[in-house]
Amino acid sequence: MRSFIAEGVDTIFGYPGGAIMPVYDALYDFRDHLRHILVRHEQGAAHAAEGYARVTGKTGVVLVTSGPAATNIITGVTDAMLDSTPMVVVTGQVVASLLATDAFQETDIVSITQPITKWSYQIRSASEIAWAIARAFYIAREGRPGPVVLDLTKNAQTELVDFHYKPCHFIRSYVPIPKPDMSNIEEAAKIINQSVRPFAIVGQGVILGHAENEVLAMLEKAQIPVASTLLGLSAVPSKHPLYKGMPGMHGKYSCNVKMNECDVLIGIGMRFDDRITSTLNSFAKQAKVIHFDIDQAEMHKNVKADVPVLGNVKETIPLVTALLSPNRHDEWIKSFDSYDDTEYDEVIKEELNPTSKDIKMGEVVHRISEKTNHDAIFVTDVGQNQMMGARYSQFTKSRSFVTSGGLGTMGFGLPAAVGAKIGKPDRTVCLFVGDGGFQMTIQELGTIMQENIGVKIVLLNNNFLGMVRQWQEMFFDERYSFTTLHNPDFVKIAAAYGIKGKRIKEHHELDAAIEEMFQDDAPYLLEVQIEPKGMVFPMVPAGAPISDVRLK
């Protein structure tokens, strides 16, 4: 406990059980210093810690017992690994003398979590606790962040030891931030200066490195249009004149076409994920690629970079900016417009102001974003709700979009929204979730009830697993194999948890319902019966070149 406090921890997401009881007993004496959020399932604790970490920049802390509790956190730990989210998970473990005997609630969680953590370590005696916790926080937070699992045997929890806490500042074998190589910085600047059609893509690395201003300064100086990955959303304000939107499978038409037309493509704190690039052998072949990232293993992993610039973007970007000459690319920037106009006419216009009877997802997201002055934190689940949330919400502040990008974890949304609201209690936190994902972690409504967490839940209910249904319609001959959901009365379920709610299905009800939802800071469920067979467009089919965009 004192180690946690020494690391500045104030919030823990957890669930008690046999092998972690001594820690929970100690926690009882620290209730004034440490807020413990009792979740309803350990997976919820892990996702809540992720939501908390993503909006605050602090390390999320999870405390659970051994065996089934430890295996229940695995989805959240994997999610945090893929989305570079700092997290320290402490799992209980049977007493050291019983290890490897198949003891009650024993599982080899260190071996299980090795491929999905930055570090996973078993603490077998109390003398190791302070050292291991200091190291865990250092590793989780420094460099490219990620999850750490500490497996704490029960005897280590009860042994008495003199407490000496020494924060960790250095690990010989771990270089979190590589030193910038000036020749690459100069080469990058030279290529950008010569570029006629430069295009930048920012990723979450910009947010994690607190480099939003530095990146904008570079883009503005050389007048470079910029797109954002899913995880990078909100790093650049949506209304910035250089901001062109999100590229990728369901991204902006213009961005996808322009990635394959630009002469220089600048990836900043991003990893050229396959949802952004589609097939690699037809991705940006015409462009010189400059890749800024902190992680050596990302360089040339997916896209071969002509100039890899290793280091923290907070440090490397200003070094490049200093070498750039002020520039303009008016023609090039204007060339995005015709594609944006086409997309507006063929997709967005109808999505925002449907002429059909049913409410559409885009319409809901757009109105809510407007109503909150594009100032809220938006959390999404995974699927159509996520893509619509990403496409139609706008942002004025960084760290305002929380989603499961790499792992695509259905059920992430509700607990992540809980963590986000706890991390930023003064901001509006609004969740977009589908009827499928909502029911994967619906038990966390209990956490919301107990802690009175003012999360605004917008349930986009089409009674389908919408994204899978869309693929079945487009690529599987409309064979709707097990994607129909017979759903319960969600408003009644929320009511049973003491959460106010409302179900709407007509366009004219939308504004008043949003108004009602935001009238106070209490938790609220707005269930919107949306068009059952809504589709997310534009779409680049899997396996097609990224510029091969389908608008319908």
């Binding site: 090795q114 491929p115 570090w119 370590y121 250095f170 690990i171 010989r172 050596q296 360089m299 992993k301």
Partner: protein, 181 residues
């Protein structure tokens, strides 16, 4: 893509669980580890893994970056055979009767620079160090007389480079540490 036998050398801190961390990185790409030798290195507290696997250069370079990304790994490198001096060791158990009955085994031992480690009334153990193909060649030659048991080690290797990359890294890290303290 062109398949080559690569030798990967990993230097790590001496912590439990590292072998698992190393092997899952190969396993994720279905890379067959042909040989693996782990022991203390010449530097106190530093462990050394020598791993061979056949693959293409793009894959092995990614594997090495992922190995180095593990927190307790100090450095990882990959080499082709021409960049290293490497060796394996093998033990052969043959019938002592066969050794006594013919001069050929003695000639083979001389030819392959092998040596007798143990001679009992019933069996003899011969040791030979060399490259994989030489060890096999010697085995085939001996097997004319019947080899009762045959074991071989994984590869160990030393680089031809005059630069000691790991020592440079450790010196740099010591300097970094002084800056932090």
């Amino acid at each position: 893509m062109e398949q080559t036998l690569y030798t990967v050398i990993v230097f790590s801190e001496n912590r439990p669980g590292l072998l698992n961390q190393v092997s899952i990185i190969f396993n994720r790409r279905r890379l067959n580890i042909e040989s693996l030798t782990v022991s203390a290195s010449s530097i106190e507290g530093v462990h050394k893994f020598t791993i061979t696997a056949t693959t293409d250069e793009e894959t092995i370079s990614k594997v090495v970056k992922e190995l180095e990304k593990r927190v307790d790994v100090l450095k990882a490198y990959y080499y082709v055979d021409s960049e290293i001096i490497y060796q394996e060791i093998a033990l052969y158990k043959v019938d002592t009767e066969a050794v006594l009955n013919s001069d050929v085994i003695e000639e083979l031992v001389r030819k392959y620079n092998a040596r007798f480690l143990e001679i009992t009334r019933s069996f003899s153990v011969i040791e030979m160090a060399g490259h994989t193909d030489e060890i096999l060649e010697f085995y085939n030659a001996l097997n004319e007389f019947g080899v009762m048991q045959f074991v071989r080690s994984g590869r160990i290797a030393i680089t031809k480079s005059t630069k000691e990359l790991l020592s440079d890294f450790l010196d740099q890290r010591n300097a970094d540490k002084l800056l932090k303290d």
